[in-house]
C-alpha cells in the first residue's frame, strides 16, 4: 500500500474498475486507500487527540487553579433547598409527572404537516407526527423535531423595535394607523409582502384588508417556492392547479430531479406510501421500481433502482424523450418500457426546482399513461392566492424603485437576505417611506426596516393551514408567547381594525362563520385535522402537451459546455430561516454529511478536471479540511470550500443557499455562518444554470470542514469482508432469499456459549430488540433529530465536530458501491446494538455500564468516571463521551425544553443510545399496574416514531407475535459483526433493489466477495 503515495484520477478509476462493483465504500478517500487514509483509520480515536485548543500559560493556570480551589470550598456547602410550586387551581386533566399531547400543525412554505406536541405541565418538550394527518401519518422529519428548539431559542426577537430601539406594540399601532389610513385614498401606495399562504383564516383577513384599502397590493415571496410547479401546472391544465401523488398504487416511479422522499409538501406521506411497496418480507414477489434522473445526489436518488446523473439542463430533453417514447439512453429506454407496461400505475414526478416546462411534460406523460386521477391527483390550488412569486416580487421592486410605494409591510420572510440578487431588494426597499417587518428574528430585513414586530412561533400561536392534499388543520398553541410575539393574525387584525381580537378569536370566528359548531371545533382541535377538507380531485383532467421549446424530442441536444451550477436550499437550515437552530446546524446533511457549513460540491470527475489532486484532497479531508475554490457565475465571484461527493454528474456543481446570515442570532451569524450564496441567485436563473467557472486556490489556507462521514467508522476492509452492508437485487433475492447469510461463517454463526461470566437467561423476561430495514431507509435524518430531542442530546459546535466529538446517539452510515460517478448508495442507521455479550461491560472499572434483565445495555451516568474503556472496546463505535460541558446548564430559556424523563449529562460522562429506556420503563409501569405484559407496539422509540418509512421496528423478541420477532425471522435478516459473539439486539434486514432486467444484472448479488 505504500506505493500508493499518489493516485491520479485514472488510477483511481482503474481501482474502482478492479472492484467489479463488489465492494462497498464510504468515501473517496477510503476508496483511494492511500497511506494517509490508512493512517487516519488506524488512529482509532482521533477525538482523544486534542485536549485543549491552545496550551495554558502559567498565569492562566494559576487563575484557573485559584478559582477551582475557591469553587471547591463552595461546593462543600449543602445544596440549596428546592421548592415545589403547585397550582392555585389545577387544570382539568393535568397530572403532574405525566405528559399530555396536543394536536397542532407545523407550516413550512405555507403547507402544514400535522403534529402532536408533548407537553409536560404546559411546557412543550417534543414534537411527533400526527397519525391522523394525511401529510404525516405519525412520521416527522428533522425540521419538525428541531422546531422545539426554535420555540425556546433565546436569540429570537423579543421586543418591538423602532429604528432598532425598543418600542411597544402600542407605539407600532399608533405609527401604522395613519400610514394605512392614508392608503384609503391611494391604495396602491400600500403594499403587503407575505410568504406562501394556505391558511383560510389568513386568506380571509387578507381579502378583508384588500376590500378595505382598494388598490392595495399583496405580494408574495418565499425563497423556496413552488413557482415552477404552479406554472407547469398552468401550462398543462390551463389554470393553476395543485398536484399530489398516491405512491401506494405506483409500480413504476420516475423522478425528474425531484426529491419527493426528502423534502417538499407531503414528503413524509410520500416516503411512507412509496416505501410500503419496497418492504420485502418472506414470500414477497414484487416491489416497485424507482428511476431518478438528476444532477446532484438527492435522498430520492440515493435509494433509486436506476439513477441517471445528468446536467440539470438535460432533464428536459430526457423528459421529452420519455414523452415521445423513444430514447437512445439505455436506462431511459428501459424506463419507457416500464412506464408503458404500467399505465395507470406509474408516476412521473418533476422536482420543484425543475423549469415549468418539465412539470408540464411530466403532466403530459402522466396523462398519456392514464395516471391522472389514479396515481397523480389534480386539485384546485391549496394556496389562497396562487401567483408567480418571482413576478410578484419583481413587480414590487420595480414599483419601489419608481417611488410608487410609500408603505411596505413585510409579514414574515427575509427578502433582504433571500431575494434574487439582481433585483437589489435592499436598495429598492430604502426608497420606501414606511417599512415594517414582522418576523421571528431581528434579521437582515428587520435591520433595514423602520419598525420590527416579533412574530410568534407556530407552537405559541393560533392559526390554520392546509396539508399537501388540502386537508385543513387548526394550529393550536401549546404555550403563551414566550417573547412578546404577535401573531400575523394580530398584525393584520390591527390593520383591519380588530385590535382587541386575539388570534384565538380570529381563527375561531372565521370557522364559526364557516359552519363550525362547538362540537366540530373541539373535534378538529382534538384530532388535528378537519375531516373531509382535502380538496376534491378533478376527474378527467388532461394535460396539454407543452409546445416544443426548440428542442428535438428524439435526439439528445448538445448540452451547454462548461460547468453548470445547481442552486438548492440547504437540507437542514432550509432557506436560512433555521440557521440559528444548532440542532439543525449540527445534523449531518443527508448526502454530504457536512455540518455547520455550506460548500461547493462537485463530482470526482469534475474535481479531476479542476486539478484537485486526489492525494492532496485525501490528506486535507483526513484533517477535516479542504481547498478554497473561486466560483464565477454571471459576473459574481465567490470563494467557497470545494467538496467532492460521488454521484454528481460531470460538470455539475451544487451550492446550497441559506448560510452566511448577517443578522438573526448568534448561532446563525457566528458559529454556523458559512457562506452567503444568495448573490449567485438571479431572477432569470433561480435554480442555477450553465456558465459557472471554478478555479482551485491552492495557495490559500485550507478551510476546516466538519464532515462526519468517517466518524465512528468501522474499518473499511471489514465493510465488504464482514458484510456490514448486504444487498441483493429482487431477482437475486427471489433466487436466494437468504442472501444475507454471513459470507464467512456459513448459514449460522456458531454460537459460543462458553464465557467467564454466567450466561443470562432472557427467556422468561422481555427481550427488547430492534430491526432496521435498510431497504427502506432514505437517510433523511429524522431519527437522528428525534433522538436528539427525546434524549436531551447536546450539540458541540463545529470545532468539536471536527474532533469527532459530536454527541448524536444514532448515526446514519452511508455506503457507496460501484462507479464513483454514479454509485449505488446504502443508508444504515446505527444506534447502540444493545449486545447480549456487550464488550463494553467487562472493561468498565466501576460497573457504570451493565446489563438489565431485559437485555438492555444500561449506562449509569452517575457511576461513570470517564475512563472511556467502554468506548474503546465497542466494535460498533456507538458510545459518545462528554469531553467538555456540552450541555447548556445555564441558559434559562432552554431549561423548560428538556425532557424531564432523561438526565442531562455533564462533563466527563459516557453516554449512548438507551433504546429510549424512559419510554420502556413508562410502558412497563403502566403494564405492571394492570398486571399484564407490555403489548407489542406499546413502546415506540423516538427514532422509530419519527421514521417516515417505518424502517425501524422495536419490540419484545420473546413474543413470537411481535413485529420485531417476525422481522428477525425474515430470510434476509442479519446482524453486524455477528462473529464477534456480541449477540447484538439491534439487527438489520438486507437491502433489496429492483433494477430493470433489461439493464443487465448490475453489480449486486447474493454473494459477498472481499
Amino acid at each position: 500500500m505504500s506505493d500508493n503515495k499518489t493516485l491520479s484520477f485514472t488510477e483511481f478509476r482503474a481501482r474502482v474498475g478492479d472492484l467489479r462493483g463488489k465492494e462497498y465504500w464510504r468515501s473517496l478517500e477510503e476508496l483511494s486507500r492511500s497511506d494517509v487514509f490508512d493512517e487516519f483509520m488506524h488512529q482509532e480515536f482521533p477525538q482523544q487527540a486534542v485536549a485543549l485548543d491552545k496550551g495554558v500559560d502559567r498565569r492562566n493556570f494559576m487563575k484557573l487553579m485559584g478559582a477551582s480551589v475557591a469553587m471547591a470550598g463552595l461546593a462543600a456547602c449543602a445544596p440549596p433547598g428546592e421548592t415545589i410550586v403547585p397550582y392555585v387551581n389545577q387544570p382539568e386533566r393535568t397530572i403532574p409527572g405525566k405528559p399530555l399531547f396536543f394536536a397542532s400543525a407545523m407550516p413550512l412554505g405555507g403547507v402544514a404537516t400535522g403534529v402532536l406536541v408533548e407537553s409536560h405541565m404546559n411546557r412543550p418538550t417534543k414534537i411527533e407526527g400526527n397519525p391522523m394527518h394525511p401529510s404525516s401519518l405519525g412520521a416527522s422529519d428533522a425540521l419538525m423535531q428541531a422546531a422545539i428548539l426554535g420555540l425556546y431559542d433565546p436569540d429570537r426577537s423579543q421586543v418591538v423595535r423602532r429604528y432598532g430601539d425598543t418600542a411597544t406594540w402600542g407605539d407600532f399601532i399608533a405609527a401604522v394607523q395613519p400610514v394605512v389610513n392614508a392608503a384609503k385614498t391611494n391604495g396602491a401606495a400600500l403594499r403587503i409582502l407575505t410568504q406562501t399562504i394556505t391558511s383560510p383564516t389568513l386568506g380571509a383577513q387578507m381579502q378583508a384588508l384588500l376590500a378595505q384599502y382598494p388598490g392595495m397590493k399583496w405580494h408574495q415571496w418565499e425563497a423556496v417556492n413552488a413557482d415552477n410547479v404552479r406554472e407547469g401546472g398552468r401550462m398543462a391544465f390551463g389554470s393553476y392547479v395543485h398536484t399530489h401523488y398516491d405512491f401506494t398504487k405506483a409500480n413504476v416511479v420516475v423522478s425528474l430531479g425531484s426529491d419527493f422522499l426528502g423534502e417538499g409538501p407531503g414528503h413524509l406521506r410520500y416516503a411512507r406510501d412509496f416505501m410500503s411497496r419496497r418492504k420485502i418480507r418472506n414470500g414477497a414477489k414484487s416491489m416497485n421500481r424507482l428511476y431518478a434522473i438528476e444532477g446532484s445526489m438527492s435522498n430520492t436518488g440515493s435509494v433509486a433502482d436506476h439513477r441517471v446523473a445528468v446536467k440539470p439542463s438535460q432533464i428536459e430533453d430526457l423528459a421529452r424523450q420519455i414523452l415521445g417514447g423513444q430514447s437512445s439512453h439505455p436506462v431511459v429506454q428501459a424506463l419507457i418500457k416500464d412506464l408503458q407496461a404500467n399505465r395507470g400505475t406509474s408516476v412521473v414526478i418533476a422536482g420543484d426546482d425543475q423549469p415549468a416546462v418539465v412539470h408540464a411534460i411530466a403532466h403530459a406523460i402522466n396523462t398519456q399513461l392514464g395516471n391522472i386521477g389514479t396515481t397523480v391527483l389534480v386539485t384546485d390550488p391549496i394556496e389562497v392566492a396562487p401567483l408567480n412569486q418571482l413576478a410578484s416580487l419583481s413587480e414590487l421592486v420595480a414599483d419601489m424603485n419608481a417611488g410608487r410605494v410609500s408603505a411596505l409591510l413585510i409579514l414574515g420572510g427575509n427578502p433582504v437576505f433571500d431575494a434574487p440578487t439582481d433585483l437589489q431588494f435592499a436598495k429598492a426597499l430604502e426608497k420606501v417611506a414606511f417599512r415594517a417587518h414582522h418576523s421571528l428574528y431581528y434579521d437582515e430585513t428587520s435591520l433595514l426596516s423602520h419598525w420590527h414586530v416579533p412574530d410568534t412561533h407556530w407552537i405559541e400561536s393560533w392559526g390554520d393551514a392546509r396539508g399537501h392534499d388540502g386537508t385543513i388543520s387548526i394550529i393550536q398553541p401549546l404555550i403563551a408567547p414566550l417573547y412578546n410575539g404577535r401573531s400575523v393574525h394580530e398584525v393584520l387584525g390591527a390593520l383591519i381594525g380588530g385590535l382587541d381580537q386575539t388570534p384565538y378569536q380570529t381563527v375561531r370566528a372565521h370557522w364559526f362563520s364557516n359552519g363550525a359548531t362547538e362540537d366540530t371545533w373541539r373535534r378538529w382541535l382534538h384530532d388535528g385535522v378537519m375531516p373531509n377538507t382535502a380538496l376534491p380531485i378533478r376527474t378527467g383532467a388532461a394535460a396539454a402537451v407543452p409546445p416544443p421549446t426548440g428542442r428535438s424530442s428524439t435526439t439528445e441536444r448538445q448540452p451547454p459546455t462548461g460547468i453548470e451550477l445547481e442552486l438548492r436550499h440547504d437540507p437542514t437550515i432550509y432557506d436560512g430561516r433555521f440557521a440559528n437552530n444548532s440542532w439543525l446546524q449540527e445534523l449531518p446533511k443527508p448526502q454530504t454529511k457536512i455540518t455547520w457549513d455550506n460548500v461547493l460540491i462537485v463530482g470526482p470527475k469534475t474535481a479531476a478536471k479542476l486539478n484537485f489532486d486526489a492525494e492532496d484532497r485525501a490528506t486535507l479531508v483526513n484533517n477535516k479540511q479542504t481547498r478554497f475554490a473561486e466560483l464565477s457565475y454571471h459576473g459574481v465571484t465567490m470563494r467557497l470550500p470545494l467538496w467532492v461527493v460521488p454521484g454528481y454528474a460531470e460538470d455539475v456543481a451544487t451550492v446550497y443557499f441559506g448560510y452566511g446570515r448577517r443578522a438573526g442570532g448568534a448561532v446563525a451569524t457566528e458559529k454556523g455562518k458559512g457562506f452567503d450564496t444568495y448573490p449567485l441567485r438571479f431572477s432569470n436563473a433561480l435554480h442555477g444554470g450553465p456558465g459557472a467557472k471554478i478555479t482551485i486556490d491552492h495557495a490559500a489556507k485550507p478551510y476546516p470542514v466538519a464532515c462526519t462521514q468517517e466518524h465512528q467508522s468501522i474499518d473499511p476492509k471489514d465493510v465488504g469482508e464482514r458484510g456490514i452492508i448486504r444487498s441483493a437485487t429482487l431477482a437475486g433475492y427471489l433466487e436466494n432469499p437468504k442472501f444475507t447469510v454471513d459470507p464467512h461463517h456459513g448459514s449460522d454463526v456458531t454460537r459460543h456459549d462458553e464465557s467467564i461470566v454466567p450466561n443470562w437467561d432472557y427467556s422468561t423476561k422481555h427481550a427488547w430488540a430492534m430491526v432496521i430495514d435498510t431497504s427502506v431507509c432514505t437517510g433523511c435524518n429524522g431519527c437522528v433529530a428525534a433522538c436528539q430531542a427525546e434524549n436531551n442530546i447536546a450539540t458541540v459546535g463545529k470545532e468539536e465536530v471536527v474532533r469527532e466529538r459530536e454527541m448524536h446517539w444514532l448515526r446514519i452510515d452511508r455506503y457507496y458501491r460501484g462507479d464513483v460517478e454514479n454509485p449505488e448508495v446504502f443508508h444504515q442507521p446505527v444506534p447502540c446494538m444493545q449486545c447480549e455479550n456487550a464488550p463494553c461491560e467487562p472493561v468498565c472499572p466501576v460497573e457504570a455500564t451493565s446489563h438489565s434483565e431485559d437485555g438492555l445495555n444500561d449506562m449509569t451516568y452517575n457511576r461513570c468516571v470517564g475512563t472511556r474503556y467502554c468506548s474503546n472496546n465497542c466494535p460498533y463505535k456507538v458510545r459518545r463521551f462528554n469531553f467538555f460541558h456540552y450541555a447548556d446548564y445555564d441558559t434559562p430559556a432552554l431549561k423548560p425544553m428538556r425532557n424531564p424523563d432523561v438526565t442531562v449529562r455533564t462533563r466527563g460522562v459516557m453516554e449512548k443510545c438507551t433504546y429510549c429506556v424512559q419510554r420502556i420503563n413508562a410502558a412497563k409501569i403502566e403494564a405492571e399496574k394492570d398486571n399484564r405484559r407490555v403489548r407489542d407496539g406499546e413502546i415506540v422509540t423516538a427514532c422509530q416514531q419519527a421514521c417516515p418509512t417505518q424502517a425501524i421496528v422495536f419490540g419484545d423478541m420473546n413474543d413470537p407475535k411481535s413485529e420485531v420477532a417476525q422481522l428477525k425471522a425474515q430470510n434476509h435478516h442479519y446482524a453486524l459483526l455477528e462473529e464477534l459473539q456480541t449477540r447484538p439486539r439491534t439487527t438489520y434486514l438486507g437491502n433489496v433493489r429492483n433494477p430493470h432486467p433489461d439493464l443487465g444484472k448490475p453489480a449486486t448479488d447474493t454473494e459477498h466477495e472481499g
Binding site: V88, G97, T903
Partner: protein
C-alpha cells in the same frame, strides 16, 4: 559505623505499617458513616414551610386520606402537591379568619401559588415513580414514616441508594396488602408468610438493574 536506629525502631516500624492500615480503614469507616448520617442525608430534619401545615392534625387527627391531597400518587411518578384550591375546599368554611392560613387565602385571592420547600429530594439522575410502588403494595409509611405523627414533615428515611436497594432486593420484607397502603399505622402480623404470598399475588419483582432508576 554506629547504628542510627535503636532496635526498638523495628517494633515501631511494624506498628506504624499495621497502624497505617487500621488508620486508613478507620478513615474509610468514618467517611462511610458520615455520608450515611443525617448530616448528609437530611434525614429527620423538619423543614420550615410557608404555612405550618400539620400532617399530624390533618391525617392523624382528622383522618383525611393521603389521596385527598396527593391526587396523582396512584397514576403518576409524582404524588402531587395540592393546589391552593384543595386547601380552600375546607378552609373557605372553617378557620376562615385564622392568621396562620393567611398565605393560603392570599394565594387563592391573588392567584399566586404557594411555594413549599421540598422535603424529599432525589438527585436528577434518579427516577422514582410513586404509582408503581403503590400499585405493588408498598405503603406510604414504609418510606415516608409515620406522617400522621409529624407536625412539620421531615424525611424519615435516608433515601440513599443502599436504602432503596435493600427493599428492591427483598421486597417480600416490606410489601403489604393493597388495601393497607394508605394506612399509616399498619403493622404486619406475619410478614414472613404474608410477604412472599403478596409478592406472588401482585407480581412484585425484585428489580435491581441500573436502568430501573437511572436513565
Amino acid at each position: 559505623m554506629a547504628q542510627i536506629f535503636h532496635r526498638s525502631a523495628n517494633t515501631l516500624s511494624r506498628v506504624t505499617i499495621f497502624g497505617a492500615i487500621f488508620i486508613a480503614g478507620f478513615v474509610l469507616w468514618l467517611i462511610g458513616g458520615i455520608v450515611r448520617s443525617p448530616y448528609f442525608t437530611n434525614q429527620g430534619n423538619a423543614i420550615e414551610q410557608v404555612v405550618p401545615f400539620s400532617h399530624q392534625h390533618h391525617v392523624g387527627g382528622l383522618g383525611i386520606d393521603c389521596r385527598y391531597c396527593h391526587t396523582s400518587v396512584e397514576s403518576s411518578s409524582f404524588a402531587g402537591i395540592p393546589p391552593t384550591s384543595t386547601c380552600m375546599n375546607c378552609h373557605s368554611q372553617i378557620w376562615t379568619t385564622a392568621e396562620m392560613l393567611e398565605p393560603v387565602r392570599a394565594s387563592f385571592r391573588t392567584g399566586k401559588p404557594l411555594v413549599w420547600n421540598r422535603v424529599h429530594r432525589l438527585p436528577d439522575y434518579v427516577h422514582f415513580n410513586h404509582s408503581i410502588h403503590v400499585a405493588k403494595g408498598i405503603g406510604c409509611a414504609s418510606c415516608h414514616g409515620r406522617i400522621d405523627k409529624m407536625n412539620l414533615v421531615y424525611q424519615a428515611s435516608p433515601l440513599t441508594m443502599e436504602w432503596c436497594i435493600s427493599c428492591h432486593r427483598a421486597p417480600e420484607k416490606f410489601v403489604r396488602p393493597r388495601e393497607e397502603v394508605f394506612n399509616m399505622s399498619y403493622v404486619a402480623k406475619n410478614q414472613e408468610t404474608l410477604g412472599p404470598e403478596l409478592v406472588k399475588r401482585y407480581g412484585v419483582k425484585s428489580m435491581t438493574h441500573c436502568s430501573t432508576c437511572h436513565y
